[in-house]
């Protein structure tokens, strides 16, 4: 059974007269423990797809099975629970909360799921991403690479089976990007299913498989 399976996914945006088919009948299946790169030119629908996979957005048509369960019928609270415990999402622009320390940022998902040992787990997650010594810095006191590490720590702190990352290295220099990529590879080796969006052929080449998207359609999936 696939960890993630989508069938005939469609998402259309209307801006006045203009109709944009952001996703135009996408079928993808990703196995448990896989590490997949989604590539394609800008505006091809990668982010739209990732948002739907991350249960942040809903498709107009098509089906999405997460570990065999149809996500379409789930309530808002159930979806929030999935985002909290089963999927970790990493954004291109980090999306850390200002005025909260690195530790507090990483703690947040645990607080929403009501875990008692939030502090220790958050600290462990920060050590995992190599930031054990920066726990009390606020985001604006950290470099881009460090912020993305905090974001990764936040994504893994609830121990989700799936990590989704939308251009996680897009705002980083090449070297820092490679460090972050190594982090994702380590997470994958530890058994997590990782899907990341990237422009970078180098980055894509390090993944186990690639899914190419153009104009809302899957070109090839190998």
């Amino acid at each position: 059974m696939s960890m993630i399976e989508i069938r005939k996914l469609r998402k259309t945006y209307r801006m006045g007269e203009v109709i944009v088919k952001a996703l135009d009948g996408v079928d993808v299946a990703i196995a448990e423990g896989d590490m997949a790169a989604i590539t394609g030119p800008s505006g091809s629908g990668k982010s739209t797809l990732m948002h739907i996979l991350g249960c942040l957005d809903t498709p107009d048509e098509g089906e999405y099975f997460l570990a065999g369960e149809n996500v379409a019928g789930l309530s808002k609270d159930k979806l929030a629970g999935i985002r909290n415990r089963r999927i970790g999402f990493v954004f291109q622009s980090f999306n850390l909360l200002p005025r909260l320390s690195a530790l507090e940022n990483v703690e947040l998902p645990l607080l929403y799921s009501g875990r008692a040992d939030a502090k220790e787990r958050a600290a462990t997650a920060l050590r995992t991403v190599g930031l054990g010594d920066r726990t009390h810095h606020e985001p604006n006191q950290l470099s881009g690479g460090q912020r993305q590490r905090v974001a990764v720590a936040r994504a893994i702190v609830t121990d989700p089976a799936i990590i989704l990352a939308d251009e996680p290295t897009g705002n980083l220099d090449t070297k820092t990007g490679q460090e972050i990529l190594a982090l994702f590879q380590a997470l994958n080796e530890a058994g997590r299913t990782v899907i990341l969006v990237t422009h970078d052929e180098q980055v894509a080449a390090h993944c186990k498989r690639q899914v190419r998207i153009l104009d809302g359609k899957v070109l090839e999936a190998d």
Binding site: H51, L56, A80, R85, F89, R99
Partner: protein, 402 residues
């Protein structure tokens, strides 16, 4: 704990936007201060009125000649109350402790060069305990002196002060009109009561006043003191029907006297001031609503500003109710803090009023708790709309918000 984290985030964002938070609170601060000071003023005024009534004597019926007031004019004769009426009241009505027949007038009182125009009370010795007067110096008059129409006088403390200054008046001779009197006592001061000053008067036996000074055979008033625990309303009715019989009034005739029940008056006046207090506080609380709207306004701005934060929180698993709770808490925090500052300000206002006017405002604990409760509720009520707007944001729309 989630609550604590949210609390910290709220506090931080309040501190980060100090001026804006303060402006949001301002309405609440002013509203609560107004309610606190209005309630304190009202309660203080009520207490003062109660004190006055207590000073005049409780368990008291006051019978006066003339019917009930009708359109501002007293109906009936003014010469209907007789000494025998007073005697009959003690004799016939159960539960009466004492009566004081009295006549009133004004008189020119002289002691050598000192000269004062004051109110003259002709009364029996029972008048003093009934009206809660106590003799400070000297003594009250005896029954024998009453019977003999003796020329003895008691002075109110203010009158004594005017006529005698530091000298002891007891034993001196004064003139009331053309008649000379021995001063046998001076009353203790009761303090100015606002509409009259009980310390400014001369009391002489009613017999003396009626025969020698005023030349009248009717009374100006009969004070009736009931024993403790009497039903004053019932006693007032009994007094009225006794007097109707004595005055030979027919069924259709109106009373030619009126009986005032101090307890009822007290209740009426105190319920009037209470109503007035509530009215004032009600008007003041309108500013609380205005304050609430201020909070709503600021919270709406805050929610818009923090749309992206809301998106992030939802992306990592915050449910709608988590977001709702967070913004409600922030609104309540603002309004509760405003409420506390308002209580401080209101208290300050009452201190100033106490210092610079003759009112003595009383800040009651219930008013403080009420203010805290009300300002928190204002936060909940007016924070709800912005908080719900935040909670209902679509995660992806919120994340895309620039």
């Amino acid at each position: 704990m989630l609550f604590w984290t949210i609390f910290k985030v709220s506090i931080k964002s309040l501190i980060a936007n100090k001026l804006r938070s303060f402006l949001a609170m301002l309405g609440i601060i002013i509203g609560v201060a107004a309610v606190i000071s209005m309630l304190a003023l009202g309660t203080g005024a009520q207490q003062q009125i109660m004190d006055r009534f207590t000073a005049m004597g409780t368990n008291l019926l006051v019978v006066r000649p003339g019917g009930q007031r009708r359109g501002g004019v007293r109906s009936g004769s003014r010469q209907t109350l007789k000494l025998e009426d007073a005697a009959a009241i003690v004799e016939k009505i159960a539960g009466v402790d004492a009566v004081a027949p009295l006549v009133q007038g004004r008189a020119q009182v002289k002691y050598f060069n000192e000269n004062v125009n004051t109110s003259l009370i002709g009364a029996s010795g029972t008048y003093l305990p009934i009206r809660n007067f106590t003799v400070g110096k000297g003594r009250s008059f005896s029954e024998v002196e009453e019977e003999r129409s003796a020329r003895v006088a008691l002075l109110g403390s203010a009158t004594a002060e005017t006529l005698f200054h530091d000298q002891n008046p007891v034993g001196e001779v004064i003139h009331v009109g053309a008649v000379s009197f021995h001063v046998i006592g001076v009353l203790k001061s009761k303090g100015d009561q606002g509409w009259f000053n009980p310390d400014d008067m001369v009391i002489i036996p009613y017999t003396t006043a009626m025969k020698r000074i005023l030349g009248q055979d009717y009374l100006g008033e009969i004070d009736v003191q009931a024993a403790a625990g009497q039903d004053m309303t019932k006693m007032a009715e009994e007094v009225a029907s006794l007097l109707r019989v004595r005055h030979r009034l027919r069924q259709a005739d109106e009373d030619d006297f009126n009986v005032r029940n101090q307890a009822e008056m007290l209740e009426m006046v105190s319920s009037n001031t209470q109503t007035f207090t509530i009215l004032l506080a009600g008007i003041a609380s309108i500013s609380l609503v205005v304050g609430g709207i201020g909070i709503m306004n600021i919270m709406l701005v805050t929610v818009t500003e923090r749309t992206r934060e809301i998106g992030v929180r939802k992306a990592i698993g915050a449910r709608d109710r988590d977001i709702l709770g967070q913004f409600l808490l922030e609104a309540v925090l603002v309004s509760a803090l405003g409420g506390l500052l308002g209580i401080g300000l209101g208290y300050g206002v009452t201190r100033l009023v106490e210092r610079f006017t003759e009112y003595i405002p009383i800040v009651q604990a219930y008013a403080v708790f009420l203010s805290i409760a009300v300002s928190c509720s204002v936060g909940v009520v007016f924070g709800f709309l912005p908080a719900r707007r935040a909670a209902r944001l679509d995660p992806i729309v919120a994340l895309r918000y620039e």
